[in-house]
Subunit: 424 residues, 2 copies
């Protein structure tokens, strides 16, 4: 195959005709597929069905606590221990909440606005401006939280080792820059694992804001689908060693370990932050669902148990990711009209089509019955400055559906590229 | 028995000596009892154990929705329907959240501060002053929420039919008065059921604040322990009929129906509020725990099922309340040194000892090994202006423990009253 940029206009016209024909054929199939969200498949849900009946009604007590009743705001000790093992932090640094880490993330930021954080001079609601650094492409729900609070988002380019730290170090000199989002392992959507040097530079930042908030969303901390579990550094310790003990809140959940809608989520942070936040949380809730915490402890047992369990997810996920990459390798790579990553964990393949073509590809896909994450969703305010990034979420469809969807996607990428080059 | 106020000083001295002796005898028993919180007993928890294993792993789908996966922010339709039946509102008016109604209440107020409510001119965080009306005595956790947000709380006296509406109607003329707490059925702590006239006057308030927020905490909507289920009016309809459709958020939960730590909570509000709030909640969470919603639907089935189930609670609760009332009737009433209510539902007996004696009684109790809710807890800022109200929570101890605790309490009430009268 010839790269499109090297084609003569005649060849390009011919290519366009073929792509259009291919696309029309796809459309004729009348598909109805969805690869919009990082939603586990039914097969993955089945892996945790044992959770549903794992509590013996005759024994609802764990750590001397009756999990059915009120109490223990910070979570069941055994469940805190489970997360402490996974995140390689101390038990005392872990707060186990409800079913959603997004909820905990939102809550920390909400409290920064209404009450201020531990080192805030005043609640952020009293400030004229609050800015956040957003490595891009990134997770749309992080951006939605910021947007909901009127936080000004500043794009920071991602490198293959994580956020561009030269840019970050410069930007945090602005005292209005109050925080930064990070998905350090298998970043959403690129699947990048932050390099050790990048992580060290993050932990040793010297932000002008005394209450700078590092939102360390370790959503995919244990979510390898290709190869062995990859250990990662404990950001709490690194921050503490660099004089930034209270700068970071780390988040994790079992949403993509057990049940997305009914897992257990946690944050981990310094003891000082924990004391501060527990006082505020005490006004909000008596205690989170400890029975669900108990279910997870009984089912997952410990970190080794989680890693073992994640291998079952991997066995389902890897063939799907392989299908995506193979399809792109075979149909798109030789044409030089897109680039994409080859993640070994997480939930996404990040695809950069030709500049100015992402919206078009998305619209073509939709017309052919395949829903993808909205173009621009991976950028603050939904604005991809190059209109090129698309997020592929292979988990939910079956492998067969995914192969069909990828066929359509390849046809759309080709068609949009040819349209673009012919219009020049 | 003679009333203390009619005793000669000699009789009083004699009474004091006897009370002291009785108290010392209680103390010598070395008790370790807790009637501080409205916490269901172990026997009550056992009533819902079937919940724990009620989901058939082969069928996690309800209303066409796989309860294990992400989605359906507003809750499982069947669970919304269950609450709609209980509260006598429309399904579309119900939002089912996580395990705690307190969490939802806090969240509505938090959003008033960060974003404003539907009819707010600006977020409350931008206002110099926010005031709330607090019928007293009331629920300490309501007051804690207010205090956490720096809301100025204004005491409103309770009458036997609910809040003093003359006072309320006057107070809402102040535009800084942004809301009011109500526990309309079996109020915490007095067990008062608001009268229909009071409810109508509340629903037809004309507050100066366009975003006045009626916090209708229907915590004990179906919690009779004595006699048949008492129907109550739908506040949403009443507010709508009086041109106040968007003024009210009603809250309920299964915390005292199934498991306190792992129930399901909801709010009910106008469709306009629902649309507004759902947009804000969408930034906060993808969806709440639908598996737990499913468990509750399967276990409780419908309103009739809940009423049936509550009779089992009543069978455990009534003997305990009877023990409290009998003890007070026999030992305290003839002395004219305390007054108390005789609730038919809810979780508390509200006890007014002699003015200036509540703290003393509480301290004496503690010294004798019985923990009660802190004196003043039933008032904003923990300040009971008459230092007389104590909340008795009979649910958690066994009947035998409760009888012991009441013996101590009666001794303490007598001792404190005698001390007080002798000191005059």
């Amino acid at each position: 195959m010839k790269q499109l940029s090297e084609m003569t206009s005649g060849e390009l016209k011919e290519f366009y005709d073929a792509a259009l024909k291919e696309y029309e054929a796809c459309k004729a199939k009348g598909l109805d597929l969805n690869m919009a969200r990082g939603k586990p498949s039914k097969a993955q849900l089945e892996l945790s069905n044992e959770l549903l009946t794992i509590i013996d009604p005759a024994n609802c007590t764990m750590d001397g606590i009756d999990a059915r009743n009120y109490g223990t705001l910070e979570g069941l000790p055994s469940c805190r221990k489970l997360f402490a093992e996974i995140l390689d932090v101390d038990v005392e640094e872990v707060f186990v909440g409800g079913s959603a880490s997004l909820n905990l993330m939102y809550d920390v930021i909400a409290k920064a606005f209404t009450h201020g954080l531990l080192h805030s001079e005043k609640p952020w609601a009293k400030l004229d401006k609050v800015k956040f650094l957003c490595p891009v492409p990134g997770y749309d729900r992080h951006f939605t939280v910021c947007q909901s609070f009127g936080i000004e988002m500043i794009n920071v380019p991602m490198t293959e080792n994580g956020p561009d730290m030269d840019a970050v170090e410069e930007l945090v000199k602005d005292k209005d820059v109050k925080g930064m989002w990070c998905v350090p392992k298998y970043s959403n959507p690129e699947g990048i694992v932050y390099g050790m040097d990048t992580i060290r530079r993050i932990a040793s930042l010297r932000p002008a804001a005394p209450d700078f908030l590092l939102m360390w969303d370790n959503a995919y901390c244990i979510h390898e689908f290709d190869g062995e579990y990859l250990p990662f550094p404990d950001i709490l310790t690194l921050c503490r060693e660099n004089g930034n003990a209270d700068m970071v809140y780390e988040f994790a959940s079992t949403s993509k370990i057990t049940f997305p809608g009914a897992g257990v989520a946690c944050f981990a942070t310094s003891r000082a932050n924990m004391d501060y936040m527990k006082k505020l949380l005490n006004a909000e809730i008596i205690s989170y669902d400890k029975l669900n915490q108990l279910r997870h402890v009984l089912f997952l047992k410990d970190k080794a148990g989680v890693i073992e369990h994640m291998k079952k997810h991997a066995a389902i996920m890897k063939p799907k990711f392989d299908a995506v990459i193979t399809s792109l390798d075979e149909n798109i790579a030789p044409l030089g009209i897109a680039s994409y990553n080859r993640p070994k964990g997480g939930y996404f393949v990040s695809l950069d089509v030709m500049d100015g073509c992402a919206k078009r590809v998305h619209a073509l896909m939709k017309e052919a019955g395949v829903v993808m994450t909205g173009p621009g969703a991976t950028f603050p305010y939904g604005k991809d400055p190059n209109d090129r990034n698309l997020r592929i979420a292979p988990s939910f469809p079956t492998k067969e559906e995914l192969e069909q969807a990828m066929q359509v996607l390849c046809a759309c990428i080709k068609l949009a590229a040819a349209e673009k080059l012919l219009a020049k």
